[in-house]
């Protein structure tokens, strides 16, 4: 659906994005992660033609953004963390204006999208009277109006309250399941990305440090936490199994022996096991591992 090929960009000599390549397939929900200034917005900017890459190119549905902008962006919607509108115009007028820049959309389609984002009651009010959440929904409507195949969401839940975040998450899932859209989203809320995204790309200081299914990355096997008052005895018993207990009381367990065999061995060795639980590696753990 969209391919980034070795894109690089410097601002005043400082690299913002350096040789970044990745691809997002049709129907995927893809997360773009990184600290502030890691290059996420620049990457989005290059994809939308807001920023000119110094090198490399972005193609959307096979069309290069730089040379075939109209074809490339014909079925693309985008929203930013701080959606900007003409405050002195109504939501309806704003939508009409933005949509006119990409062709025409029927009144029925507009009403359908406005209903989808839940703005039907306030759509004729001036945008200056809207809350942040309503602006975000208007931005989503603006992005969805041209019936996009690809939606770029730059920090879509920024500034939203918990209910708004939940609503936005449900909406993103709906876009994929019901409308078959491809979604690329950047977010600081890793829990959010973890729940939504099939794959992630992690940018760090402008470079791509990871791209793929984060669950598949890293060492194989699992990690466990052992709580016991008999630490020395426990360590000795584990050594007998060829395993090492870490100072923080965690244990890396390869595929064999399995956890049940380990617990049995510890009990047999007279170790009093208060707790033996699997540690789940979160996206946050993974992200911090990769970005230091």
């Amino acid at each position: 659906m969209i391919r980034f090929e070795s894109i690089s960009k410097k601002f005043r000599g400082r690299p913002a994005v350096a040789d970044v390549s990745f691809e997002v397939a049709r129907g995927e929900i893809f997360g773009l992660l990184g600290h502030n200034g890691a290059g996420k917005s620049t990457t989005f900017g290059i994809a939308l033609g807001h920023v000119h890459a110094d090198a490399g190119r972005v193609t959307i549905r096979g069309h290069a953004v730089t040379t075939s902008r109209a074809d490339a962006l014909a079925r693309v919607g985008a929203i930013f963390e701080t959606p900007a509108f003409y405050d002195y115009l109504s939501g309806w007028r704003n939508l009409r204006f933005f949509v006119s820049l990409g062709g025409s959309v029927s009144r029925a389609r507009m009403e359908e999208v406005i209903r989808l984002v839940g703005l039907e009651e306030r759509i004729h009010d001036r945008v200056r009277t809207y809350s942040h959440g309503m602006r975000q929904r208007l931005a989503l409507a603006q992005a969805l109006l041209p019936d996009p195949e690809l939606v770029l969401l730059d920090e879509p839940t920024e500034g939203l309250d918990p209910a708004g975040i939940h609503e936005m998450r449900a909406m993103i899932q709906k876009l994929r399941t019901e409308h078959g859209m491809t979604v690329i989203l950047s977010s600081h809320i890793l829990h959010e990305v973890e729940q939504l995204c099939d794959r992630v790309a992690i940018l760090h200081r402008g470079s791509l440090v990871y791209c793929g299914r984060w669950q598949d990355a890293g060492p194989g096997g699992s990690r466990w936490k052992i709580e016991t008052p008999d630490t020395e005895k426990c360590a000795a018993a584990l050594r007998g199994l060829g395993l090492a207990l870490a100072p923080d009381g965690t244990l890396a367990l390869p595929a064999s022996p399995d956890s049940a065999a380990v617990v049995a061995a510890l009990v047999a060795a007279g170790v009093r096991v208060a707790e033996f639980r699997r540690l789940v590696r979160t996206l946050e753990d993974f992200y911090l591992e990769r970005t230091g």
């Binding site: 807001h50 930013f80 003409y86 990409g102």
Partner: protein
């Protein structure tokens, strides 16, 4: 073409939905009423009468609505017009960059050239609308107050002194306003160019105003008389020469060719800069 017109309609709607767009219209209406009031003061009226009678004419037929409209135009349009045209043109691109709405526009499959063309047409429409509004309201206010009559023209800077009956005077007035509309386009052209640069919209407005005021000040210094062709405002005031008994078309054509060249250069430069800019949050 249909898509362009639809987009242009949207651009005009944006422009004319803002209250500040109308400040210029309101201000000019106020100025017209103030000038009308001042011209009615006995001492001012006396000076006026004296000037006409010195030329060997009777003042009665020439202290008319048409004369009043002419003086409103020549005294106020440049200073006040510069202000409001610079205000709108300085904002037209820069404010959208500052507010982030330009990035929203650029998310759509529309070229940067198209966006710029829409904005250029919108400021041109505003410039024409403001000029004609001032000209027509000045004439209406003048006619309501002083009635129809001859036109008395006195423009010392352009060395024009003339008197016309109502019919020919009105025709000259209409032609002058048409030419004035083209003259004033240079102000939004400069504002538009600066608005495309990486600067705050307020800075674009102030720089535009400063440029025209400086140009006008320098032009008015008698020692710089020989440098007159180099001042833009000298070319911009060519519209007044339409009131000369024999209209110097060849000189006026030269003036407007200069202005056209300047405007075209500014627009091309603006387009090149706009195309190359990066728009980030």
């Amino acid at each position: 073409m249909r898509a362009f017109l639809e987009q242009f309609r949207g651009e005009l709607l944006k422009l004319f939905a803002r209250k500040r767009t109308y400040i210029g219209f309101g201000a000019f209406l106020g100025v017209e009423l103030i000038i009308l009031f001042l011209l009615n003061l006995p001492r001012v009226r006396g000076a006026f009468t004296h000037l006409i009678e010195e030329a060997g004419y009777s003042a009665d037929g020439y202290l008319s609505g048409l004369t009043l409209a002419f003086f409103v135009l020549i005294w106020s349009i440049f200073l006040l017009g510069s202000l409001y045209l610079a205000l709108v043109a300085g904002d037209i691109v820069g404010k959208e960059v500052e507010d982030g709405t330009l990035r929203m526009m650029l998310c759509r499959p529309v070229s940067r050239g198209r966006i710029l063309a829409l904005k250029l047409c919108a400021v041109a429409v505003y410039s024409f609308a403001l000029t004609w509004f001032v000209a027509i309201t000045a004439l209406i206010v003048g006619l309501l107050h002083s009635g129809a009559g001859g036109l008395f023209v006195f423009a010392p800077m352009e060395k024009v002194f003339a008197l016309y009956d109502f019919g020919p005077g009105l025709a000259r007035y209409a032609l002058a306003v048409l030419l004035l509309s083209f003259s004033l386009l240079t102000i939004p052209a400069v504002g538009f160019f600066l608005s495309c640069l990486d600067m705050k919209p307020a800075a674009a407005t102030i720089t535009t105003l400063s440029f025209f005021f400086l140009d006008s000040i320098l032009r008015n210094i008698p020692f710089f008389e020989s440098l007159k062709p180099w001042f833009i405002t000298a070319h911009m005031s060519a519209w007044v020469r339409v009131f000369e008994y024999r209209i110097p078309w060849e000189h006026m054509l030269e003036d407007y060719a200069w202005l056209l060249a300047i405007n075209a250069t500014l627009v091309v430069l603006a387009a090149v800069i706009f195309q190359q800019r990066d728009f980030k949050s």
